[in-house]
Amino acid sequence: MDKNMELIHKLLDGEVSEEEKKEILDRIDSDPVLKMELDALSMAVHIVEKSERLSVPPSFTSKVMGKLPVRKSSYREKVWDFFFKDRVLRWNMVTAAATVCLVIIVFTGVFQFQKKHSLISHTNISEGSTVTVKFNIYVPDAKEVAIAGDFNKWKVDGKNMMKKQDNGIWTIEIPLKPGAYNYMFVMDGKVWLSDPNAESYQDDGFGYKNSVLKVTKL
């Protein structure tokens, strides 16, 4: 589109300054072809602008109103939207980093929790024909903990006292020959505790459950 036509369209858009208007009108006066173009365009615009506007069918509003869906109340709508509306989650590096940290913290917490409450009761370490078994129990508030079982004739004495670790876990290592052993922990000399992580349990006839350990050759 050449410069003259651009100016003509600006004129039709009503976006010319007085200076530009004078300039284009001067050019049109001296150029019959340009004048013809302006007349033809003005006529096209005029016909469109003045073309008959159709009147809307009389039943239009009632038809629209009849088709409107029942709107939920504003409060219900908000609740509904909160739960069911599709949403896009926007994120940036800070929120991504915070999310990663949160996931790490949660996983570490769960791991620590499991570690405390599912202590490895016994670790088999080979030593000739016997196997050294390490017993553990998590009772951080206990003053003393001992182990009593088939392997020490259920005696609670100095030899069978367990050692407290800094993390509240009490441990003791006992060499055992392969076989099945019943045992329990004794807290503060009076409270008998089953090993929460024993392989199996057996009723002792006094209302308690002995923990059962089966030692096999490695």
């Binding site: 036509m5 369209h9 858009d13 006529m43 005029h46 602008e49 809307v56 069918p57 509003t61 629209v64």
Partner: protein
């Protein structure tokens, strides 16, 4: 200045109507339908070229606008927002029509309509001729010409309706006018 106050009043009144609609008072929506049905119906007619589809699309535009009222932004004009919904409805309708009827068939229908005795009245004939010419414009040019010259929007308002920059809309309007001039000249239509 006085006119500006009037416009602001109307905008806040319309916002109040919208709020009441959202609170469950559907009946008050008829105020907005009455106010803008002429604009929406005529835009749809000029975009689609036939009254039946224009009526359907105009009704659907109002219903869609009602459903989407919660997305209406307070700082925008309801008429502009509604007009953009109507334009989108017309675009969808034209696309679905393209899938089923060829362009030639549409042209034939338009021509045969013009030739019917019912359309004999001169002003009606010109109106139909203009519509036929508008139908021949590419969709984007037609939208621009209809909004600019049928509805009398300025380029800023057109920008809000169509979501296209005003510079692009100026180019589309200019080209649309050029094509319209040529088409009307071919049909021997002259004013007066």
């Amino acid at each position: 200045m006085y006119k500006k106050v009037d416009k602001d009043d109307m905008q806040s009144e319309e916002y109040s109507i919208i709020k009441q609609c959202m609170d469950g008072n559907a009946d008050i929506y008829s105020v907005l339908v009455e106010r803008y049905k002429g604009m929406v119906y005529n835009v749809a007619y000029r975009m689609l070229g036939e009254t039946e589809s224009a009526n359907d699309m105009a009704q659907e535009s109002f219903i869609s606008a009602y459903i989407a009222l919660k997305d209406f932004k307070k700082n925008s004009k309801f008429s502009t927002w509604l007009c953009s919904i109507a334009i989108n409805k017309c675009r969808d309708h034209l696309r679905s029509k393209k899938d089923t009827v060829s362009i030639d068939e549409i042209a034939e229908v338009s021509v045969s309509k013009i030739a019917t005795p019912e359309d004999a009245a001169c002003n009606r004939q010109i109106s139909h001729d203009i519509q036929t010419a508008l139908n021949e414009l590419p969709e984007e040019y037609r939208e621009a010409v209809v909004l600019k010259h049928v509805e009398g929007l300025d380029y800023n308002e057109m920008e809000n309706v169509l979501g296209v920059s005003s510079n692009t809309l100026k180019i589309r309007t200019h080209r649309g006018r050029e094509m319209l001039k040529k088409l009307l000249r071919e049909r021997g239509i002259s004013h007066g």
